[in-house]
Symmetry: C2
Subunit: 193 residues, 2 copies
DNA sequence: CTTAAATCTTTACAGCGTAAAGATTGAGTT
DNA sequence: AACTCAATCTTTACGCTGTAAAGATTTAAG
């Protein structure tokens, strides 16, 4: 409720929020620093007090959306038995449905991606992508309980991630036509193997 | 070997080729119409005689790369028994390896994608993405031979595509670290299910 | 109250996509 | 061979972009 004054008061968060709105409404192609600044009622160069470049603002926006994504993933297995394969299915379904509900986010998060993941999964890798970390930990927990050796679980983790990530990629392609009840269909496709 | 003259002689193809080279060497972020024009030794506006916009040139470039991709996929199953699941594995492996060899192409082909696919696969859908069509036809052929009903095969096709497409997406992420012999590993991951 | 740091504005510049108008060339007609 | 027209290319120009630089305003600390 801040009145118009020289200082915005909350410009950094304001830019991130306005930027995400702009992406949602018009897509990344029509995103520009100047437009975001205008949406916040500040001048062209004002964002440079908080972000050293357009890319830095985009990264902050990506991190914000990733946080939201991660929160939904965690919520999806909150009441599940974390030793059961059912939990993995729930998590995978949530992964895909997030992008079906927010199709713009897929390209936004993964084009020029910030994701840094160690697929060797040696527990010392710099894995800065929490959604993958959730899937990795849960899968190791479930399959270790079933007595599977670690090396095999590694392949399963990658396979699971590839499946849900690939499904999200395919189902958010602009021209895709589909008549399914995806909520159920996704589960069928994930479980099928 | 054309000497410098007012007319370029082969500008349309020249722009497509120079554009793809630019993408390969510097990435899509540094791609611009003016730079491609300069690479071809013509003026800023010359491309507009052949493409009505930057997007149209990019589409032509995407189609060119997709043709190359499709050719490699066809070649990968040229000597295979097309009634055997082995052929599907070969095709899937080729799908992923293409993008491992050409990491820049993944984002280039699928961000702002031209892909138009009917996942209902009613044989009347407008499917303009030949790589998917190859996978779809081959999979139906193999699994029909095995007596599987069409509805189940549909899910398998989507699952297969999601897996290889997702693998390609993951393995071409910029920060991914991996120590594997992927050629073999990919097969393990695809077959695992 | 003074000063410094943080935040915002103004101005400026090069690069971008592309519209418009004009120059050059080659191909076809006569 | 001369004319004509369409295709192809250049020049110029406009508004938008990212961002560097310098200056204004406000807040916070001493």
């Amino acid at each position: 409720m801040a009145e118009k004054s020289y200082h915005h008061g909350n410009l950094k968060e304001g830019l991130i929020e306005a930027g995400i709105n702009l992406i949602n409404e018009e897509g990344e192609k029509h995103f520009s620093l100047r437009r975001v600044a205008a949406l916040c009622g500040v001048s062209n160069a004002a964002p440079y007090s908080h972000f050293k470049s357009k890319e830095e603002l985009l990264k902050a926006m990506q991190n914000h959306v990733t946080d939201q994504f991660t929160a939904e993933l965690k919520k999806s297995i909150k009441d599940e038995d974390l030793d059961s394969p059912t939990a993995i299915i729930k998590l995978g379904k949530c992964y895909v449905m997030f992008f079906i509900r927010n199709p713009q986010y897929f390209e936004f998060l993964f084009s020029q991606s910030l994701v840094r993941v160690d697929l060797n999964m040696n527990d010392d890798g710099a894995n800065n992508y929490p959604p993958f970390e959730l899937l990795r930990k849960l899968t190791f927990r479930v399959f270790r309980k079933m007595g599977m050796p670690k090396n095999e679980i590694k392949d399963i983790v990658i396979s699971e991630w590839a499946t849900v990530h690939g499904l999200a990629a395919i189902l958010t392609m602009k021209g895709i036509s589909y008549d399914y009840d995806w909520e159920q269909k996704i589960e069928d496709i994930i479980v099928h193997k």
